[in-house]
Symmetry: C2
Subunit: 808 residues, 2 copies
């Protein structure tokens, strides 16, 4: 053991060393270099947390050189940089194409250090140069106002995974590995995050990787033992249980356990060599041409002390290897001279004078330890996926048009032609496009896509699978009953420069509210980073919507995801509610060509009236909002009332209301407005898609009643439009949590989005109908009641109402 | 094998039978009875799905006797009723106190059948009586408008778990078992839902149950092999992997695999006997007085065909044991006579004539097979927890008051006294109160609670744990880094009649958006069921809030959970934003005494100014909204402007703005309004807490500018208040996604909730200040800039601003 290692070992104390793979592959020189690189990483991590001056400790440390506000987390950092260090050696040794995902929260110091040492950081941020001045700037910016955060935020070179919210590192890694046959995605999993649900189920990603076609994910579970104040579950179960758990999940776990640096370096090197060999063997087997089988991919369990190499004890409290090492291990160094000395000794134990030259640059040996060029994990283009992104080859969406001769006469399943469109997009992009959905692509009528790419399946097959299960180890449609895992895979796929499409049930898209929030935040930050190349938008089709969940019941009725979406930055959020097949095709074409957005498309899968032929649909969707003249009769005059709609079912009911009103009141002047692009309702000062007040006023008038029939919760429309001139006359109908087991019409009636309620709304709000409309109002009420009675008697809707067609 | 069993066995074909536990404990007579009960369940399930007449098949089945709209799901039902049937025998044999949770989606037919047979259903719904007329009503209502759903909705006797959204059955079961030492909670887990993240991590509940003090959860994983159109992951991995997985999770798995009913009955009976014996042995050991250790609880893996006992094949397609059995296996029976015949044969294969007597009542043998009285799982009071609920013994919250001599002069951590209050509540309710939080109760300053009840921990201990880890196998504070699992445990605990308190980080409460939605929906439905006794409210403290996440960065800044909450029924949702310690105590006291709500309390954990002494706090919180006269100077006159706030930091900044404005413009008449109960802003027609328009107008005026400083996204206030007279003058500031690494004040400035922005808002909106205020406006802007510069230079806020006190 080198003196340095001994020096550090003296302040580490951790359980018995244990490693599954025997051997000491590092020569003494390699061991010294490896440890030097890691020492440098640890020094940098401490520098980031503590120093605002004297970055190389060229003079004794003084209180004023300590940052005023100590932020950041030491706990996870040493093990992260330990893994990064060893990957550097393996990359050089085997010429690996690898990227690094840091799952543990607040792990940035453990990643930024090696990224700086390898030179990636300075290439992207030249003011953080490889010299004393640059080093100081690098230290100061960390967790500092106007600087960078303590997670692996978008500002971190080489990062596609922030880790700010826990649980997604393996699904992100898996998405990154798809269709990247040469790539190894090293994914460090924290034992804290391993307790989250999304992480727990994402160990199953090994059932979603095809070793012939996809890259490898190499999970490195870091059992450092502690969260903020608690031990972690996985660190406190026996070795046998832990091993069984991961074997049960289908992995081949290799254990690297201990605290003595030299022993651990040898064990980690031997294990990493074994993992690379395993991956190569798996690839060779899978790529030899035989049938592809599910391999047992290697993974590493790295059990190392939390805050590894920190002082073992401070003021009588255990620090290294305990939760007290989680954040800033010595907090009061500015005021406590003894603690300042302790910190200085600790930092000097890494021997910075050996690691940095006279200019403050890392010594050549350290630079040489890292890979070069794009092999450096901080600069690998896969982690700045926009650089590698190729535009999708898109067939002409017009070719999939639904023939619509006259509006509102025929019905079609809105999503079915989209499935055909997706099939052909898939066909033209068989290496950089995938479709995602939790067991629902058939249910969602998108199954035509299986004609070119089936569901991915690499576990066991049964004979009956031949009958319609549509599974294939070459499949490109990813289905798992975990919205979390699919969303994570898709994000990883997009962040590494590819394209995708995700469809899911409306009520249960709330399961990934938080993931949407985090991805939107990531995109917002990327908009300010010129070096981050644009990535494909995240396209989310929300189908099986609330208005067709009358039979699945109350739990399946929740259109509130849109309320979550509108809270995020207008720069990255788009919401579309295409009312029919052609609008859905037009909108989807637009979304698949866009970049850096989250596009949310709401469109039900069942039979719906068709309104617009393709030409009209394109015009309508391009404008995003428009007056439907064929449903309006206000030509040349101000209308008495504006009837507006957004969404398929609300549009149908609104049109039916128009028809009823026109039959009753032929001289009533009605204007019909349909909204596809929901953000049109916001002022243009709030959202780039927003209408100007002038355009809004000209569509919605400045003083006439507006009856707005909305797909979602009605208050959302008020929230978007509250600043508009005519807001006081805006009356919105939408879902109000009034559902159980109903017929479709009864569900509409309960929430007052049905034709009768709307027609009555108009009578109530147009002054000249208050008296003249009394009779009609009574009639509408009776018809509504009759519909309800029919539903209760027959279990279905009155056919003449359910099958209503626009006759205008 | 009986003839009947043989008849059914002929249409089942499934892999080799296998059972971990050998033996055939059922006598021939018991076997016959067991099978008869299960046959009756299966018959009832089909009747629910198909029949609207001829419920006992007393005549040949005719098309008009088939429901017009076939809804419901057969696939999961037979295995659910199989488990229920066997539990019935075990309950009788061992006099067990057990409840039944059905995890698989759309499993209601498999539960409603046995609940009807045991008589529970008819006791609760007398019109669904145990005769032909009642049976028909029971069939007709299923998945029928005005009837009941296909999940185990609140209408289902004995259910505390709907299963409408998947993934929570084990965490619900665990919560039900807490502090119920005699209870066994049987929890059937679907292999579809087993793919979800929340379910995957919830297998770790065995590390949260104390066998001496808590009941047992008996998971029954039903591997029926399929989801809607896909195989399931866990059904397609080898036996060894599966066994390791569950052993790795810490269970003792017993396998029951096959399809032949008689063999399976014997295997299931033997296995269930073993499980009961295991549970008894675990209890005996744990309750003998020695140290409590984590046992290996038993679980059952029940591998049975999907849609078990359905026809093996229909029209050349495999049905039983395949995904085609998922929903309605034969859909066109009304129009296809051959299929009608097939259905009739299938239903008759259960031999209904043996199962129901002349009146249509289940034969006495079936009634005798079920347990009696409260031992019936459909009527067990634990599953109607309000019946067992005891009011919390509450110390007087006034005793925990923060002394506040004058408003806004001192700072205190808002949550710390709450921790002391919770400590004493815990002390007085050591068997029916628990505190939940994902590793954050110390971080959230609630750690006083550990003085009476520490964190629950039953895994391994290390010597260093003695130093501040606060763990104990007798602990009553539940901590796991899974918001899903904790929320599920808490829901299960409340639904079985106990009380709890959950605190979590604001940004990551979005992780459980969907669980909140579902629990709110459950409560809404319960409000319409007179037989469901009221349960304690779900009390959720959101702390570590957006305005103190300046250092954790953008990912940790998301106050949008409230936008999700307001979409749910006004009958069950409450939101409070107490601005200081005493208000937080008063609000929490109220919430803990309430029932049938979700109470969301937003209050940060860090040091904040204190405004109200306890007496004033009580008055203020009871009103929910109020004018703070000490901060207003509009006594006797109309104000020039109303400044309003909701939330701790927004209140401080708003008050600082008032102070600045009063110093500049002594004759400006300001009114200060603080909102604690957010729903006060909605009209009383929309929410029971809503202010009348008259009261609202008198607080906010009908025409003066209102500057509202809000904790969350600003649009939420518009959404609540858009109908108010003075809405056009309502100007709201809140979080607008403008954050990164900042100081607290800089974060406020970026989002314009800071004192300077607010003061400028007032100048801009009060006409007589447009000119007179120009100089002050310039001054405020410069001060704001100076604050920002200071932050960038020092990494902290300008002390005189950060440490500002109210001097009024």
């Amino acid at each position: 053991m080198s003196d340095t290692a001994q020096a550090n070992a003296s302040i580490t104390a951790f359980g018995p060393a244990r490693a599954t793979v025997a051997g000491a592959p590092l020569s003494p020189e390699q061991l010294r270099q490896t440890h030097a690189f890691w020492r440098a990483c640890n020094y940098l991590a401490l520098g980031m947390i503590y120093l605002q001056d004297n970055p190389l400790l060229r003079e004794p440390l003084k209180p004023e050189q300590i940052k005023n506000r100590l932020l950041g987390h030491w706990g996870a950092s040493p093990a992260l940089s330990f893994a990064y260090t060893h990957l550097n050696r393996a990359i050089r040794q085997y010429d690996l194409d690898a990227i690094f995902l840091a799952g543990p929260g607040h792990g940035a110091p453990g990643v930024l250090g090696p990224v700086y040492l390898e030179g990636s950081y300075s290439e992207i941020y030249p003011d953080k140069s490889l010299d004393e001045e640059g080093l100081l700037a690098f230290f100061k910016q960390f967790s500092f106002p106007g600087g960078i955060g303590s997670h692996c935020t978008p500002e971190t070179p080489g990062s596609i995974h922030e880790g700010g919210e826990l649980g997604y590192v393996l699904s992100h890694a898996c998405g990154a590995a798809f269709d990247n046959p040469g790539l190894i995605v090293a994914a460090v999993v924290g034992d804290g995050e391993a307790e989250t649900g999304p992480l727990a189920t994402s160990w199953h990603i090994n059932k979603y990787l095809n070793p012939a076609r996809d890259g490898a994910v190499l999970p490195i579970l870091n059992l450092n033992g502690y969260k903020i104040n608690n031990p972690t579950l996985l660190a406190r179960i026996g070795h046998a249980e832990l091993e069984k758990l991961f074997e049960g999940y289908g992995w081949r776990p290799y254990f690297v356990e201990g605290s003595d640096p030299d022993t651990m370096h040898q064990a980690m090197a031997a294990t990493l060599d074994r993992c690379v060999e395993d991956i190569r063997a798996i690839r060779a087997t899978a790529r030899a041409g035989g049938p592809v089988q599910r391999p047992r991919w290697p993974m590493i369990v790295l059990r190392s002390p939390k805050g590894w190499t920190a002082p073992g004890e401070i003021d009588g409290h255990k620090v290294e290897g305990f939760w007290r090492a989680h954040q800033v291990p010595i907090a009061d160094v500015k005021k406590n001279p003894a603690h300042l000395k302790l910190l200085e000794d600790w930092m000097r134990s890494y021997q910075p004078e050996e690691l940095f030259d006279a200019d403050g640059a890392p010594v050549p040996e350290l630079r040489a330890y890292a890979p070069t060029g794009n092999r450096r994990m901080g600069i690998n283009p896969h982690a700045n996926g926009g650089l590698l992104r190729k535009a999708l080859r898109m067939p002409d969406f017009r070719d999939y048009a639904q023939a619509v001769e006259r509006p509102g006469r025929i019905e079609a399943e809105n999503t079915r032609p989209l499935g055909v469109f997706l099939r052909d997009i898939m066909q033209a992009n068989m290496r950089n496009f995938r479709v995602f959905g939790p067991d629902e692509n058939t249910s969602n009528k998108l199954n035509a896509v299986y004609e070119t790419a089936r569901k991915f399946w690499i576990a066991e097959y049964f004979p009956e699978d031949a009958d319609g299960t549509e599974m294939d180890p070459e499949g490109r449609v990813m289905e798992m009953l975990s919205e979390h895992t699919l969303e994570g895979m898709l994000e990883g796929y997009l962040l590494t420069g590819r394209h995708g499409f995700f469809s899911t049930y409306e009520a249960f898209v709330h399961v990934i509210d938080s993931m949407f929030n985090q991805h939107a935040k990531w995109l917002s930050i990327c908009n300010h980073l010129s070096w981050r190349a644009g990535i494909a938008s995240l396209n989310l089709l929300i189908t099986s919507t609330v208005w067709r969940q009358d039979h699945n019941g109350f739990t399946h009725q929740d259109p509130g995801f849109l309320d979550v979406v509108v809270n995020k930055s207008a720069q990255v959020t788009r919401i579309y509610l295409p009312p029919d097949v052609n609008c859905l095709l037009s909108v989807t074409d637009h979304c698949l060509r866009s970049e850096n957005y989250v596009n949310v498309i709401v469109c039900d899968k069942q039979n719906h009236l068709q309104y617009l032929d393709m030409e009209r649909a394109i015009v309508h969707c391009t404008k995003g909002i428009g007056l439907w003249d064929w449903a309006s009769n206000d030509q040349g005059v101000e209308p008495d009332v504006v009837i507006a709609s957004a969404g398929d079912i609300p549009t149908k009911e609104a049109l039916a209301a128009v028809a009823m009103l026109r039959a009753e009141f032929p001289d009533l002047k009605l204007r019909f407005v349909n909204v596809v692009d929901l953000f049109k309702l916001q002022p243009d000062t709030e959202h780039p898609h927003g209408l100007s007040d002038r355009d809004f006023d000209s569509l919605f008038t400045v003083d006439k009643p507006i009856i707005f029939n909305f797909h979602g919760y009605p208050w959302l429309i008020h929230r978007l439009a509250y600043r508009r001139t005519n807001h006081k006359n805006l009356h919105v109908r939408g879902y109000k949590e009034k559902g159980n087991i109903n017929t479709p019409l009864e569900l509409a009636i309960n929430n007052q989005i049905d034709r009768f309620s709307l027609a009555i709304d108009v009578i109530d709000r147009v002054p000249r109908l208050h008296v003249a409309g009394a009779h009609a109002k009574e009639k509408f009420k009776n018809r509504q009641l009759a519909c309800r009675h029919y539903a209760y008697a027959h279990g279905t809707d009155l056919p003449e109402v359910a099958d209503w067609r626009w006759e205008g």
